[in-house]
């Protein structure tokens, strides 16, 4: 059996586990850092909006021996504007000229055909008005807003409002990161990108929901026991579904990576590439956020409940008692954050390494 299977077994038994909840401040910090970077990037560099949002014409030639720089010259001659020329993987050229109208694009197309010595019919022309892209984007935002509202309602009903909020935060987090990466790297934003971004919505939540589902199940009778706090169980849920999360993310990323690297490699820029790039970034962010952000956030919110506070008190009391009884004089270094550090890193039968924490009594 593979190592992952073994890992799964050990995770299941609680032999090994990573204290996601306990270290949540680190992950919150990382996420806040990334988010700030993303926002700063967005503010400073802005997004490289594609031609669909600016308006203009895109011409695609058939396979040609004309070089990119030469094509740039041709396009500039024909249009009087600077042109962006890309060589696509299959030997065709993609020429973008911003701010063209229908009539101009026809003229340019004919001129280009002359320059390239091909039939004008063989040059694909894609003429885009600025408001078309804007409309796609507007609709996308609209869809996003509606979806968020619906999903929050759904999660609040199916789970509880804390989970709905945590999921929403995780979702916004994913979108910010994805958009931020676009701003920082300067990838072109096209309708394809928007589509990819929208998919992340579903997927990010999908991942989160799977973890929440397990969490809900495991915390069903939480108040009837005094062994674990909510955070402990949340941590166990994450660890328990970790293998699934890894597997699912790998399986989801593989085809997308195929699209991105193979599709992109073959064709250069294009719809395929645009969609798969944003998907790739978003899927990765989605997997990360469901584990490191959404669930710890739920635990945080949940621990504020009086019921959970009481439970925590009982659990800690019991642990302190057990510790005292065992006369385990293991004094660990003073941990900075008291409350959350009191959760055991190892949630298993042997999770008894506890400091006395007498101040809590």
């Amino acid at each position: 059996m593979s190592k992952l299977g073994n890992l799964g077994a050990r995770l299941h038994r609680g032999e090994i586990s990573y204290d996601f909840i306990g270290h949540r401040k680190i992950w919150y910090g990382i996420s806040i850092l990334i988010t700030i970077t993303a926002i700063v990037g967005l503010a400073v560099r802005g997004l490289n909006m594609g031609i669909d949002f600016q308006g203009g014409a895109v011409f695609t030639t058939e396979k040609t021996s004309v070089s990119v720089s030469q094509a740039e010259e041709y396009a500039k001659d024909a249009s009087g504007h600077d042109a962006v020329v890309q060589k696509l993987g299959n030997g065709t050229l993609r020429i973008q000229i911003a701010g063209m109208d229908t009539q101009q694009s026809d003229e340019i197309k004919n001129k280009l055909a002359e320059d390239f010595k091909v039939d004008p019919e063989k040059i694909g022309a894609d003429l885009v008005g600025p408001s078309w892209g804007d409309q796609i984007a507007n609709k996308a935002w609209q869809g996003l807003a509606i979806f968020m509202v619906l999903v929050v309602i759904y999660l609040a009903i199916a789970f509880e409002w804390r989970m709905a909020i945590a999921a929403l935060v995780a979702l916004i987090h994913d979108i910010t990161i994805t958009v931020g990466i676009y701003a920082l790297v300067g990838f072109e934003v096209t309708p394809g990108t928007v589509i990819g971004l929208l998919t992340i919505l579903g997927y990010s939540l999908y991942d989160t929901v799977v973890v929440f589902d397990s969490l809900k199940e495991q915390t069903k009778d939480i108040t009837k026991q005094t062994r674990w706090t909510y955070s402990d169980i949340a941590n166990r849920s994450i660890n328990g579904t970790l293998v699934r999360s890894i597997n699912t993310t790998v399986v989801a990323l593989l085809p997308v990576a195929g699209l991105l690297f193979i599709g992109g490699g073959f064709l250069g820029a294009g719809t395929l590439n645009d969609i798969s790039l944003s998907l790739f970034v978003g899927l990765a962010a989605g997997a990360y956020s469901s584990i490191f952000i959404a669930t710890p956030l739920v635990a945080d919110l949940k621990e504020r409940e009086p019921q959970m506070k009481a439970l925590r008190k009982r659990v800690l009391a019991k642990r302190a008692q057990a510790a005292a009884e065992e006369e385990l004089a293991e004094t660990r270094g003073t941990a900075a954050d008291g409350a959350e550090d009191a959760t055991p890193a190892v949630v298993g039968p042997r999770a008894t390494r506890r400091r006395p924490s007498g101040k809590r009594r």
Binding site: M1, S2, G5, G8, A9, H12, R13, D52, T60, T92, T102, I123, A125, D126, L127, V128, G129, W132, Q135, I136, K139, A140, G143, F147, L150, A158, P191, G192, I195, L198, T199, G202, Y203, L205, Y206, V209, D213, S214, T241, V243, R244, N247, T248, V250, V251, A252, L254, P255, V256, G258, L259, I262, G263, F266, L267, T271, L272, I275, S276, L283
Partner: protein, 589 residues
């Protein structure tokens, strides 16, 4: 979507063979249907098959709101226009609140189509102030092929030559054409009041608006316009398009119209009635007088009044001043003669129409005036080669991605990966067949984003059985033998799958409803595959697992089954009880 399936799944658990048979029958039936329908491949979107896609955005005019009714009317008109080119597969559809997308598959003159739909159609009734044949008369219908506006007007305009070709109608049309053979025109339509008594009764009572009528013709035909009229050569396409450009309804103008392959030029007065004031127009066959096909018009309230006014004026004049031009997009599509004042809001145009011509004119009168004006937002010409290339790359990428997924599954799940791959295969077949069937059924077209959606869906489909497999493994780790583990894992996995698939479906549904264009195709594919995922997991993966759990290979926990308790790290004490032949405690929690 969860509820009904849940119910059926209960039986699926007890009788795995039955639901497996069910889904196999469904696959066979769907595939059979696909072959029978003859649509064995999904209809390709314009981006893959090649062609032209035109996006038009409505601009609100004075007094016309962008609402659904107006948009639908506009789609209807555009549909007539593009399909008037002989394009049977052109699609005109609204997208969002104010967009109309016209998809014209490859092999069509996209430029022509573009002019056809892109221009704003405005229909007006204008009094004719002067009329003349123009240019060499030897410019028959063959030449105007590049002209979109030409071809649009050619078909509806009643012409002598056309009616002559169909013998039966030529004879029937003799009476109306007789009145109008002046000026070298082959035929003119006659306009008269509807035969209904109410129309004639009110005709007599209508006040004569003679005061303005005389001044109208004189003052508007000023010198400049006269010069313009004199210079106009309607045999030239450029001149024709230019003739009616940018003219306001309240100004006099010049225009061209084709009758019987000959172009006539017109000097036209200010618009008397707007096309929007026509309530409805119909092509009817006049059985009473055997006069052949004619077009009846009903005007709305303001239209009736205006029409009564103008006909009262025109009826007093002589040819050609008793005609008015029905001007569509600056082009005279018909110029009926007015014989009498027509009030009461009903009128008919008779002439030597063929059925199609009458129908076409009626449509134009009903719908000719687009309620909105449109602006071209984007014109996308996609060469098939490019689309094919993209599809090719997309499919290749999908295949490679799928290959990697399979490798990963085999590596990780060993024997279980057979179940996973079979599920993916079933899901793939169903997706393909349904897409192929939806092409003719609801006009679904597989565009590039949709291909991406399908590839992304591999991940979502795979997740369902990963959730299930992991649950089974957890049960085995608890010390259960395979058969109870498979059954115990199911209810919990089922809930997770439904809950998460619902979220995915919700996203797809919202996107599908709210968004436009490419995003919609993508959302549809995503939604479809999500639903199919649930179907496949419930009716295929689960029953298959139940069946396989009975096989020795899996039940014995072979090293290669992916369910080997030892390497899964099952709890030692329970494992001992499990070892002696699988206990038949199929009961589940």
């Amino acid at each position: 979507m969860a509820a009904p399936k849940k119910g059926r799944s209960a039986s699926a658990q007890s009788k795995p063979g039955r639901s497996l048979a069910l889904i196999l029958i469904a696959i066979v039936a769907l595939t059979g249907g696909m072959f029978l329908s003859g649509h064995t491949t999904p209809r390709l979107g314009i981006d893959l098959a090649g062609g032209t896609s035109i996006t038009l955005e409505a601009k609100a005019d004075q007094g016309s709101a962008i609402n659904k009714a107006n948009m639908d009317t506009a789609v209807d008109i555009m549909n007539r226009r593009v399909n008037g080119l002989g394009v049977s597969e052109a699609e005109v559809q609204t997208q969002g609140d104010k967009n109309i997308i016209v998809n014209i598959p490859k092999g069509t003159n996209s430029k022509e189509a573009r002019e056809q739909v892109g221009t704003t159609a405005k229909l007006y009734f204008r009094p004719v102030l002067a009329q003349d044949a123009t240019g060499p008369a030897a410019a028959p219908s063959a030449s105007p092929s590049p002209s979109a506006s030409g071809s649009s007007s050619a078909s509806p305009s009643p012409s002598a030559s056309k009616s002559g070709s169909s013998g039966e109608k030529a004879t029937s049309s003799s009476s109306p054409s007789a009145s109008a053979t002046t000026q070298g025109r082959a035929v003119t339509d006659a306009l008269k009041a509807d035969a209904s008594p109410s129309a004639s009764a009110s005709a007599s009572s209508s006040p004569s608006p003679s005061a303005s009528s005389s001044s109208d013709a004189g003052s508007t035909a000023d010198a400049k316009l006269q010069a313009q009229y004199a210079a106009l050569d309607c045999s030239k396409k450029a001149a024709r398009t230019k003739a009616g450009e940018g003219v306001k309804p309240e100004d006099a103008t010049v225009g061209c119209g084709e009758m019987g392959g000959v172009w006539y030029k017109y000097l036209l007065g200010p618009a008397a009635v707007a096309g929007t004031e026509v309530d409805k127009a119909q092509a009817v066959y006049n059985t009473q007088t055997a006069a052949g096909w004619q077009v009846t018009m009903d005007f709305n309230k303001s239209g009736s009044k205006k029409f009564a006014d103008i006909t009262a004026k025109l009826a007093q004049n002589t040819q050609p001043l008793n005609e008015f031009g029905i001007v569509l997009d600056g082009e005279v599509v018909s110029s009926p003669t007015v014989n009498e004042t027509i009030s009461g809001g009903q009128a008919q145009i008779s002439g030597s129409f063929t059925q199609e011509e009458a129908q076409s004119l009626a449509n134009m009168l009903s719908y000719g005036a687009l309620p909105l004006s449109f602006q071209e937002q984007s014109v996308t010409t996609v060469t098939a080669a490019l689309g094919g290339e993209q599809l090719h790359a997309g499919l290749l990428a999908g295949a490679i991605g799928l290959g990697l997924v399979v490798l990963y599954l085999v590596f990780y799940y060993r024997g279980l990966s057979v179940v996973a791959m079979a599920s993916l295969l079933v899901s793939g077949i169903l997706t393909y067949v349904i897409m192929a069937l939806l092409g003719p059924a609801i006009g679904f077209a597989l565009n590039l984003p949709a291909v991406c959606g399908a590839i992304v869906a591999i991940g979502i489909t795979a997740d369902s059985f990963i959730v299930y497999f992991e649950r089974i493994r957890d049960e085995i780790r608890e010390g259960r033998s395979l058969r109870p583990a498979v059954e115990r894992a199911w209810p919990r996995a089922r809930r997770t799958i439904l809950v998460s698939d619902f979220v995915s479906f919700l996203a797809a549904a919202v996107l599908f409803i709210v968004t436009v264009g490419k995003v919609q195709g993508f959302a549809f594919t995503l939604g479809l595959t999500t639903v199919l995922d649930v179907v496949v997991v419930f009716f295929f993966t689960k029953p298959l697992m139940t069946l396989l759990a009975r096989r020795k290979f899996f039940a014995s926990g072979s090293k290669w089954s992916g369910l080997d308790p030892q390497s899964l790290g099952a709890k030692p004490p329970l494992r001992r009880t499990r070892r002696p032949a699988a206990p038949a405690q199929t009961k589940e929690a």
